[in-house]
């Protein structure tokens, strides 16, 4: 299993991390954008290379400073990590070209270079969380990504962006603090911070109350970060008032990375113990996931602001992912993991499309969107694809993940659960249909019937994601295989 140090693993994190201060030094909006774009594409290239390495060798390793694990910090990438890295880097690579025009319109000119600095730091933090094999190092990257996220959200045009960012700051800090308390308790008992090392020591100490407390802190802390119902209260406002680019980037990546951390804790750190036997985690997670699927979807139905509607829909979709994890079978896990990818595609497309509508017309409420399908047919067609995916219509990515989840539930003879998954999709039909109806079946307001222009630099990223959604919806083999490999790896160990 021991492989030689793979420098690409380190460069994946360090390149965006060092590009951020370069943006500060450049200070010009276009210079910062160029650096950010070049770096995000380089990172995407590295992520593909790493995925191939991991698929071939099973994992990739890097030892920081030449120190061997568990003493030094070790970067480890397994198939799950490689998959998440691909999601984050891929979304980053399409976000940057899209960002140029949207940011020029939404962010004050003298702050644009700081915007890209923060976006790069956020990218670096999210990638760092995914590649690190060290519990404390993960906390550091968690803070890098969170702090930059707070700043990014606060840059929204609406003044309420500030309170949204502050609220997320409070909730996010509580989440991160809970995580670090959990890590501290584990360290107190085991004397190690390395995930692989923790895994081997855990069976001997699982009965101690300290470890159970650690598990509780970790679960609650991470659930706050991934906005698991009912710890989601920070998310709707944060997504609604953040700049369009930030909303799309975060919706597609940030919560997925938090889900990754949850997976890492449950299936790597506590991988060798029967965690569900010593701790009633499974019923709790299933209940929360179901509550998210239904209550968040219901909330989405009542929203007038489309960004807020999509934010509630995100909470519901996180419910599906967590449900797959809570089933704790290979099929369930792979359903949850593949939904991370599929949801990133669909939500990315949806928020990109809405961002383009905001760019062209400034409209974001359902009332203002009347007849928008006729004025912006190309953009809204992408939204339709994303919307159908959220419902789970066949030939969209959403169908593949829901099919996998239903299959997993049926394997466990959980008929009611399978029925509930399908039932909750009906709620998605309602909230997505509300947008379709307003956009296509109503006449545009008379004052605004000229076609609205969206620059090509925004249309191409929108349709890149929409195209990817169509492709991976029609042909789920690649993503499902990858998710299966990742799930097998998680269940079988590192």
């Amino acid at each position: 299993m021991i492989t030689a140090s793979d420098p690409w693993l380190l460069l994946l994190v360090v390149v965006p991390l060092l590009a951020a201060p370069v943006c500060v030094l450049l200070r010009s909006p276009s210079g910062a954008w160029s650096v950010a774009t070049a770096v995000s594409w380089a990172v995407f290239g590295i992520s593909i290379k790493l995925l191939l390495t991991v698929l071939e060798h099973g994992q990739a390793v890097y030892r920081i400073g030449g120190w061997d694990a568990p003493w030094g910090i070790e970067y480890v990438l397994d198939p799950l990590g490689a998959f998440v890295v691909l999601i984050v880097a891929g979304i980053g690579a399409v976000t940057m070209p899209y960002a140029k025009r949207s940011v020029e319109k939404e962010i004050r000119k003298d702050r644009i270079y700081l915007f890209y600095t923060m976006l790069l730091l956020c990218l670096s933090g999210l990638l760092g969380i995914t590649v690190t094999g060290d519990a404390f190092n993960l906390f550091v990257f968690l803070e890098i990504s969170s702090l930059s996220t707070y700043v990014l959200i606060s840059m929204g045009q609406d003044r309420r962006a500030l309170t949204a960012a502050f609220r997320y700051l409070i909730m996010g800090t509580i989440g991160a603090t809970f995580y670090i308390i959990g890590v501290g308790l584990m360290y107190q008992v085991t004397g190690t911070l390395n995930f692989a090392d923790l895994k081997t020591i855990m069976p001997a100490v699982i009965e101690t109350r300290t470890i159970l407390a650690a598990l509780a802190f970790l679960t609650v802390g991470i659930s706050l970060k991934l906005a698991l119902f009912p710890l989601h209260m920070w998310l709707p406002n944060a997504y609604t008032f953040a700049p369009s680019v930030v909303t799309a980037f975060l919706a597609a990546t940030a919560t997925k990375v938090s889900v990754y951390v949850l997976l890492r804790i449950i299936f790597t750190v506590f991988g060798d113990v029967d965690i569900f036997a010593s701790f009633p985690l499974q019923p709790v997670l299933i209940a929360m996931a179901l509550a998210a699927m239904f209550l968040a979807s219901l909330s989405a139905i009542w929203q007038e602001n489309v960004k807020r509607m999509l934010a509630y829909s995100s909470i519901a979709q996180i419910g599906y992912i967590v449900l797959g994890i809570a089933l704790a079978t290979e099929a369930g896990l792979s359903g949850g993991i593949v939904h991370m990818f599929n949801h990133a595609l669909m939500k990315g497309t949806a928020f990109f499309a809405i961002g383009a509508v905001i760019y062209a017309t400034g409209a974001v409420t359902l009332k203002d969107l009347e007849g928008i399908g006729k004025r912006m047919p190309v953009t809204m067609a992408a939204f339709v694809i994303a919307g159908l995916g959220l419902i789970g219509v066949p030939l969209t990515p959403g169908f593949i993940s829901k099919w996998q989840l239903v299959t997993a539930a049926l394997e466990l003879d959980m008929w009611p659960l399978a029925a509930l998954i399908l039932l909750s999709s009906l709620l998605a039909v309602i909230y997505v249909w509300r947008v379709f109806e307003v956009a296509y079946l109503r006449e545009p307001a008379i004052t605004a019937d000229k076609p609205a222009d969206v620059p090509l630099s925004m249309l191409v990223p929108i349709w890149t994601l929409a195209g990817a959604a169509i492709y991976f919806g029609a042909n789920g083999t690649f993503t499902l295989d990858l998710a299966d490999t990742a799930a097998r790896h998680l269940m079988g160990g590192f």
Binding site: S5, P7, L10, V14, L17, L18, A20, P21, V22, V24, L25, Y62, R63, I64, G65, G66, R108, D110, R111, L114
Partner: protein
């Protein structure tokens, strides 16, 4: 500002160079004694903050404009990361200081000095920037603008 407080001004002028000197001591003695980049950076920034408190924020901004503090801030991170990249180019792993010198000991020594220097720069820059941001905000005469050089 406090033009009439002679005592404060004289003592501050006496203290500020000493504070800076002590910061440099903490910075470069950090590998043998208590201290290091973070503490040194804070102490160094304190010299400027004291100056700003006594002589006013406008004068302080003239002596060290926010464009300089921002550059310090970014450069420090680059020095830290650059040291890591350098060790990689020299054939080691990221931040493996052994390869920096002729012997591993010399390499470790040089490496930690470089990295801590970067930390000191960034922390000093960050402390002054934070102070300027809040002070400028409360002053009222300077509208709060992050991108400004005033």
């Amino acid at each position: 500002m406090m033009v009439e407080k002679v005592l404060l001004r004289v003592i501050a002028k006496l203290l500020i160079p000493l504070i800076m000197l002590f910061a440099l001591y903490v910075q470069f003695h950090g590998d043998f004694g208590p201290g290091g980049g973070f503490q040194a950076g804070v102490i160094f920034a304190v010299a400027f903050i004291l100056y700003a408190l006594i002589f006013g924020i406008r004068v302080a901004r003239k002596s060290i404009p926010s464009s300089v503090t921002r550059t310090l801030l970014a450069l420090g991170v680059l020095i830290y990361g650059g040291t890591g990249i350098l060790t990689m180019l020299l054939g080691g792993e990221f931040l493996d200081y052994n390869v920096l010198g002729s012997t591993p000991l010399a390499g470790q020594h040089l490496g930690i000095l470089l990295v801590e220097f970067g930390v000191g720069m960034t922390v000093a820059g960050a402390m002054i920037t934070i102070f300027y941001t809040f002070a400028g905000h409360a002053n009222g005469d300077l509208p709060f603008r992050i991108g400004d050089d005033r």
